[in-house]
């Protein structure tokens, strides 16, 4: 044991997925510590802010088999994966999550089920507990039945409260995730009070980031700057009250921040997603990027995907950068922001994320913030995430909604 081995220096790094929609790590370490298994794109909810691809309907018929998922878990573990997120879509629409959980436990993963709660029964949660599932993250939407049912386009409010109690009764930490948008941002105080009353241990207030369905619906969902500031102030006041035990993560929406996020903590650094059809991605929305062939577990396996595939190496490090990023003194802090956002908003995946005030395209963000005050734009109807709308996206029927973006998100 050496002098440098204890105290603050003992912590080499803290990896936390609930900050900045990714995880922290040094740039020299490229182990896929976090594996996100998006086991299906099918979902009983139709949330207008879902980040899933708008053309997900293409990938609902060719899901990986149980055996293929188990093989992926084994291969990722060998590469160093340790945190496993089982997500979707709604993962509980598959009937083999129990088997996946057992295998995850056997391999030494810390496993997290990320669910809407729909399909969680006493029988299933008991099987998860027995199988060694470590944690369940439940999405909640609002304190009001009306908003919950509106934004998810389903009647799921009462069910979510029941599921929250079930999770608690089985000795799981209660971790709630609430996506924040224009329709619920005014209820942040009440949402926090509800979570505290339900006995939540953690709550993530995830301000909508604009990818997938949420980008299509951006003008509907985006709150004003004043609303975001107020929500953050309420959150800080709630945290300051010593009677409140719950841990709160407030994910700042990047549009309202002047520095870009270090997206996924670097492309291909610590995060790997295997999607329902087996595509392997370095981030949730990477498939929007042009001229990029993503590896698939059915072809070459995960070791090839992570270490050798051109897609995973494309934006590793900073060699790919253009000005103003290349000579920027802050480039190591944020790696130029998000490649998908850069492409969607400017048409160039290698330019600075427009969120950055140094980006020549920053006016696109200030314009969107300005437009959020404009009631004319928000009169467009919401496009809910459902199979019918996904088919319409594939057929090109919503092209007018995304004309200002450079790809269908």
């Amino acid at each position: 044991m050496t002098q440098a081995s204890l105290g603050e220096s003992a912590v080499q790094k803290v990896v936390h997925a609930q900050q900045n929609n990714g995880v922290a790590a040094s740039t020299t370490n490229t182990q896929p510590l976090w594996l996100l298994a998006e086991v299906t794109y099918r979902c009983p909810l139709h949330c207008a802010f879902c980040y899933n691809p708008t053309d997900y309907d293409k990938h609902t018929q060719n899901e990986l088999s149980t055996e293929q998922w188990i093989q992926a878990l084994r291969d990722a573990r060998k590469l160093g994966a340790i945190q496993l997120g089982i997500s979707g879509g709604e993962p509980l629409l598959r009937d083999d999550i129990e088997e996946i959980v057992v295998e995850a436990k056997k391999l030494g993963y810390y496993s997290n089920l990320i669910t809407s709660g729909v399909g969680l029964t006493e029988k299933r949660i008991q099987a998860f507990k027995d199988g060694g599932l470590d944690h369940i993250q439940l999405s909640m939407h609002d304190i009001s039945e009306e908003i919950n049912n509106f934004i998810t386009n389903t009647k799921t409010f009462e069910l979510k409260k029941k599921v929250a109690a079930m999770i608690k009764n089985h000795g799981y930490p209660m971790v709630l995730n609430v996506v924040i948008h224009r329709y619920n941002i005014g209820h942040v105080k009440e949402i926090l009070e509800m979570a505290e009353a339900l006995g939540a241990d953690y709550i993530e207030l995830a301000n909508t980031q604009y990818y997938g369905w949420s980008l299509v619906n951006r003008s509907q969902l985006m709150p004003t700057k004043e609303q975001v500031d107020e929500a953050e102030a309420i959150t800080n006041a709630f945290r300051a009250n010593p009677n409140n035990k719950m841990k709160i993560f407030f994910v700042v929406p990047d549009y309202f921040s002047d520095r870009p996020k270090k997206c996924m903590n670097g492309w291909g650094e610590v995060f790997m997603i295997v999607t329902a059809n087996g595509d392997v991605l370095p981030c949730h929305s990477a498939r929007v990027l042009p001229n990029m062939q993503f590896p698939n577990v059915r072809d070459n396996g995960l070791e090839y995907a992570w270490k050798e595939s051109p897609a995973f190496n494309q934006y590793r490090g900073d060699d790919w950068m253009k000005e103003p990023c290349r000579s920027c003194s802050e480039k190591a802090n944020d790696l130029g922001g998000c490649r998908c956002q850069a492409f969607l908003l400017t048409g160039d995946a290698e330019t600075a994320d427009p969120v950055c005030t140094k980006s020549p395209h920053h006016h696109l963000i200030t314009q969107a913030i300005e437009d959020s005050k404009n009631p004319v734009l928000v009169s467009k109807p919401i496009v809910f995430r459902n199979d019918k709308n996904s088919k319409k996206v594939i057929a090109g029927e919503f092209d007018d909604r995304v004309a200002e973006f450079h790809s269908l998100p």
Binding site: S5, L6, V11, Q12, Q31, G80, I82, Q83, Y110, N112
Partner: protein
């Protein structure tokens, strides 16, 4: 809130936290809902001994015996306990 660690205190890993050796990283880690922390060797040696039975004093004694050449080890061990309690990785039993 100031954290005071007494030699008679007994600690355990917090609920829903898991401590394990990671072969791929050659490191001990603490895992918790959607997060993890990687511990350098010395810190891992401390947490490894926290078992809801040994007192802080006994953990110190054992580490002094195991690492007789480490200078000022006791203060560092107490510092590690303070940090681990402060971060919520350990709970008092």
């Amino acid at each position: 809130m100031e954290i005071v660690i007494l030699h008679t205190d007994v600690y355990a890993l917090s609920h829903h936290h898991r401590f394990q050796w990671e072969e791929a990283q050659q490191n001990y880690v603490i895992l918790f809902p959607e997060g993890m922390v990687k511990l350098h060797g010395g810190a891992g040696e401390v947490i490894k001994r926290v078992d809801a039975k040994l007192t802080v004093g006994e953990v110190v004694e054992d580490l002094v015996k195991t690492f007789p050449d480490a200078p000022n080890i006791e203060a560092e061990i107490i510092g590690m306990f303070e940090m681990a309690v402060g971060k919520g990785w350990l709970r008092k039993v």
